[in-house]
């Protein structure tokens, strides 16, 4: 610390008075005493959720500013603002006021662009944060409820983003709304009525922008704010999860204090996120609505693209085959209904239910505060990779026209390729990812038993080359040893004392089968005995080599041969592997075995 540090007299004095006053009325000292030294574990991936939180704050700030100037009205006006190319054009007040914000309000365009960039970042950060939580198993007990809140936040964030970029009433956003209206209209039985109620009559009407506005600035942000608060309170109360590592257990939390370290780090990170989005707003044009023109249902721009987080839904609409049924005076548009409503509905439901499904399959209802390394849960990791593949393919589908024009490909071929790959590729990715995880597990086991490869090649006096292995550090060891290996749940068919076999329901069978699928293959973790043996063996080998070398340097090339230790090529190789070949990649069998209860 610097030598000229002096007590900051007046600040301490005033702060002390305020604190004293607050404590006498609210008892804040009790709260501070318990919380100011709260520990949070440190990892870069824990900052993803922070980015989402900070983008939300930036959205509130910039959004409030924009609301001071934006007129959410579809009343038609003739534009006479600063943007000359649209002078005298008929447009809605919403669009005209967006032009005013962009051209006549100083800093208005900046706030608009920062708002839009933050929105893109908000959904992106939530999505990547979700991946982190999924692949590390952070959703497990006791955090299932927070997972559900997270899924709710993601859904609302997507809706909020769509509502936001639909407000300016430009040609692009109006086209998006037209699509949304077509989707609502496709709902069986109530669709037409729902559309007329939502739009205040036929599309586009004059009611929708004002209605969407209140949804965008009050209803959804209000719910978002409430859910974010609940999300954070739960993290606070349940304490953050941590990655496995030295000294970290299920029963402790290892990290730095909230005050001052995270106050500075997280507070500073807010400024960095804010700063980066403002720089983006300065240098990267986003949603230049003046180039699209005002919305009219008779026109459209080629290459219409939604914001990135709507891309997968648009892609689903694009690649869906044209199935439609018409009978008894009614039309059922599966071609719209399925990709736009049913498929996302199923996916989000599965996403929300995943923690409960996994819990049921594993039978593990214990608390988990140590995160999984994705490789240690190959099936979950495979399922996640499969879902991401599906999503990315749909997302590519959303840009099929752009891909076709940029790479001179046939749009029909791209669409057909996607229709096939959407079904074929995700399972392939699942299998490959699972194999990768198992291979990584094997590598971990290998490292634990034989140490890591040092890259140092030594030539022994006998002429053979060996690579020296060194035991992994204690930190590495703690990390590699983390994680639980499960046995599949087996059907309980053991007869009771009267020789009557227990009743096995269909659900039991399904669960056993799913459990076998889930834990079908995994590489056994070394036991303490194996670790000891491995360490002992390595040490022995090392000692053997050392003796050989020493003997060689002393002029007795075969000096070590007599003690029965490695000078044959077989044993030399054993340093790497062969010695433990029996356990090498030992795989726990998938077949459900009866177990005792």
């Amino acid at each position: 610390m610097s030598a000229d540090t002096e007590p900051a007299g007046p600040i301490i004095e005033i702060g002390g008075k305020v604190a004293d006053a607050a404590d006498q009325r609210l008892g804040i000292s009790k709260y501070l005493k318990n919380n100011i030294n709260k520990l949070f574990p440190d990892h870069w991936s824990f900052m993803l959720g922070e980015i989402a939180l900070y983008s939300f704050i930036v959205l509130l700030l910039t959004g409030t500013y924009l609301a001071l100037f934006f007129k959410p009205s579809m009343t038609e006006v003739i534009y006479h603002g600063s943007y000359v190319p649209l002078n005298g054009v008929r447009m809605s007040e919403a669009y005209a006021s967006t032009l005013d914000i962009s051209f006549d309000v100083r800093g208005g365009l900046l706030m608009r662009q920062v708002h839009h960039w933050s929105a893109l970042l908000f959904v992106a950060a939530i999505s990547v944060h979700l991946f982190r939580v999924f692949f590390t198993g952070a959703f497990r007990k006791p955090r299932e409820l927070n997972w559900l809140i997270g899924v709710g936040l993601l859904t609302l964030a997507i809706l909020e983003g769509f509502a936001g970029y639909s407000l300016p009433d430009d040609l692009l956003s109006g086209t998006g709304l037209r699509i949304a209206q077509g989707i609502i209209q496709s709902i069986p039985v109530v669709g037409t009525y729902a559309s007329f109620l939502v739009f205040g009559g036929p599309f586009p009407g004059t009611s929708f922008i004002p209605r969407l506005y209140i949804v965008h600035v009050l209803l959804v942000p209000g719910i978002l704010l409430a859910l974010i608060t609940a999300h954070l309170m739960m993290i606070w109360y349940q304490k953050h999860t941590q990655y496995p590592g030295p000294g970290r257990t299920e029963k402790n939390v290892v990290g730095y204090r909230l005050f001052p370290i995270y106050t500075a780090k997280a507070g500073g990170f807010f400024f960095i996120v804010f700063g980066v989005t403002v720089i983006l707003g300065a240098i990267a044009s986003i949603n230049p609505v003046w180039m699209f023109g005002p919305y009219t249902p008779t026109e459209v721009t080629a290459g219409s693209q939604p914001d990135w987080y709507i891309g997968w839904l648009d892609g689903a609409l694009r690649v869906m085959p044209n199935v439609e049924f018409s009978a008894w005076g009614h039309t059922l548009s599966i071609n719209v209904l399925f990709p736009a409503l049913i498929m996302p509905g199923i996916l989000f439901t599965l996403l929300g239910l995943y923690p409960f499904i996994e819990q049921w399959v594993t039978g593990d209802r214990r608390e988990h505060n140590l995160l999984d390394r994705p490789r240690n849960v190959p099936t979950r990791t495979g399922l996640g990779a499969m879902a991401i593949t599906f999503y990315v393919l749909l997302w590519i589908g959303g840009g099929n026209d752009i891909i076709a024009t940029h790479f001179s490909l046939s749009i029909n071929e791209i669409t057909w390729a996607l229709r096939v790959t959407l079904i074929v590729l995700p399972p392939i990715v699942f299998v490959i990812t699972r194999r990768f995880c198992l291979a990584l597990q094997r590598r971990d086991r290998d490292k634990l038993l034989h140490g890591y490869e040092t890259g140092t090649i030594v030539r022994l006096p006998s002429g053979e080359f060996i690579e020296l292995h060194a035991p992994v550090s204690e930190e590495e060891r703690a990390k590699l040893l983390a994680g639980v290996r499960y046995q599949p749940i087996a059907l309980d068919t053991t007869p009771d004392e009267n020789g009557v076999a227990p009743k096995v329901t269909l659900l039991d069978r399904a669960r056993a089968r799913m459990s076998a699928f889930y834990f079908g293959e995994q590489v056994a973790k070394p036991t303490a005995e194996e670790l000891d043996h491995g360490a002992h063996h390595s040490a022995e080998l090392a000692a053997g080599y050392a003796r050989q070398l020493e003997a060689y340097e002393n002029g007795h090339p075969n000096g070590s041969g007599s003690d029965g230790h490695p000078n044959g090529s077989h044993d030399g190789a054993a340093d790497g592997h062969a010695g433990e070949s029996a356990e090498e990649g030992r795989v726990i069998e998938a077949s459900p075995r009866p177990t005792q209860h």
Binding site: R178, E250, V336, D364
Partner: protein
């Protein structure tokens, strides 16, 4: 099959099919210790700490100066000044400088705080215990007892009639909302079935509203059109509702190229008139390939063959593009023979 509940003490549950959860998941391997802390340069060298102090302060000074620069830029850079920035191209000077100044200022404040935290604040990790969330058996028993007492005091279980009517009343409350929401919009009625097109309605170009004669449309050409009465209707209604249904496109091909139409003699000398609104989800279709007579919707790439009764040849749309029968009036201008013979635009439940 029994699930494994939390034993609460880290020990395996009898009959558990899962290994116990310890630090390593393996109880016989001793738990690891926290790694040894290596002091940073700033911990041992006061000069290094002073250097970091200066760096952090410099970042904060930028945070003080940038708002001042921002003010000056706000006042002195004209709103409409456009500058050419390398890579970015022509851009608003005001937006560029205001944003850059503000962004850099905010970034530096953040970077300063983090630099300070990482270099000068303690970097020794500490350990705290987690506490079980579950209440003790005693807590639970007390809670249950208090709840039962309250229930008993309220008489909720005793007074059956109160209980049932209360549940009924609560279930009925949302019914207040339904009629209130009803006036959000009118009933659809026949609105989706009819358009402004009628017998003798002139076909005029979109935007400029010029009537067209057959000679105005070359072979291979495409013209976006609307009914002649649309502008007046739009002025009167103040909305674009009719504009969302009535746009059409006129295309002309050699009569021999027309394989099929939706009705006999619905063309006029090879001029065909189709709805412009996609039968998928209602985007205006606009991309036409004259050689193949294919009309492509830019939103989801549904492709219609206009030489073959507007048939769908690719994409998610399920129905052919509706055709409008046309002819010419006494002055030789293109007019509709009638309204569309089917609803235009996306499908809906009552469409039939």
């Amino acid at each position: 099959m029994t699930d494994v509940e939390d034993p609460g003490d880290g020990h395996p549950v009898p009959g558990s099919q899962v290994e116990p959860v310890g630090a390593h998941g393996t109880p016989d391997i001793p738990e690891s210790r926290l790694p040894v802390h290596h002091p940073r340069r700033t911990d041992i060298d006061p000069r290094a700490a002073r250097r970091v102090e200066r760096q952090v302060s410099l970042l904060f000074v930028i945070g003080i100066l940038t708002p001042i620069a921002f003010w000056l830029e706000y006042v002195y850079i004209p709103r409409d000044k456009v500058i050419n920035v390398p890579v970015i191209g022509p851009t608003s000077a005001s937006n560029f400088f205001l944003g850059l100044t503000m962004g850099i200022g905010l970034f530096c404040v953040g970077a300063g705080a983090i630099h300070w935290a990482k270099k000068l604040m303690p970097d020794v990790e500490e350990v705290a215990d987690r506490h079980p969330f579950r209440g003790t058996d005693e807590d639970r028993a007390t809670a249950v007892q208090l709840f039962e007492e309250g229930t008993e005091n309220s008489g909720f279980l005793r007074y059956k009639m109160i209980r049932r009517t209360l549940i009924g009343a609560l279930a009925a409350t949302p019914l207040f909302a339904l009629p209130l929401l009803k006036d959000l919009g009118p009933m659809p009625g026949n609105f989706l079935r009819y358009t402004l097109w009628k017998k003798g309605e002139r076909i005029v170009t979109d935007v400029s509203y010029q009537p067209l004669r057959a000679v105005d449309i070359p072979i291979g050409g495409l013209v976006s059109c609307v009914p002649a009465s649309l502008p007046a209707e739009q002025d009167a209604s103040g909305n674009q509702n009719e504009a969302a249904k009535s746009p059409v496109i006129l295309v002309r091909m050699r009569p021999a190229e027309i394989k099929k139409q939706q009705g006999a003699n619905w063309d006029y000398e090879g001029i065909l008139c189709y709805s412009k609104i996609c039968t998928h989800v209602g985007c205006p279709t606009a991309l036409y390939e004259q050689k193949t007579h294919q009309l492509l919707c830019p939103c989801h790439q549904s492709t219609f063959d206009l030489s073959d009764a507007g048939r769908v040849i690719f994409g998610p749309a399920a129905r052919a593009m509706p055709q409008l029968p046309i002819t010419v009036d006494s002055e030789g201008y293109l007019v509709a023979q009638s309204d569309f013979h089917q609803p235009v635009g996306p499908s809906f439940w009552e469409r039939g």
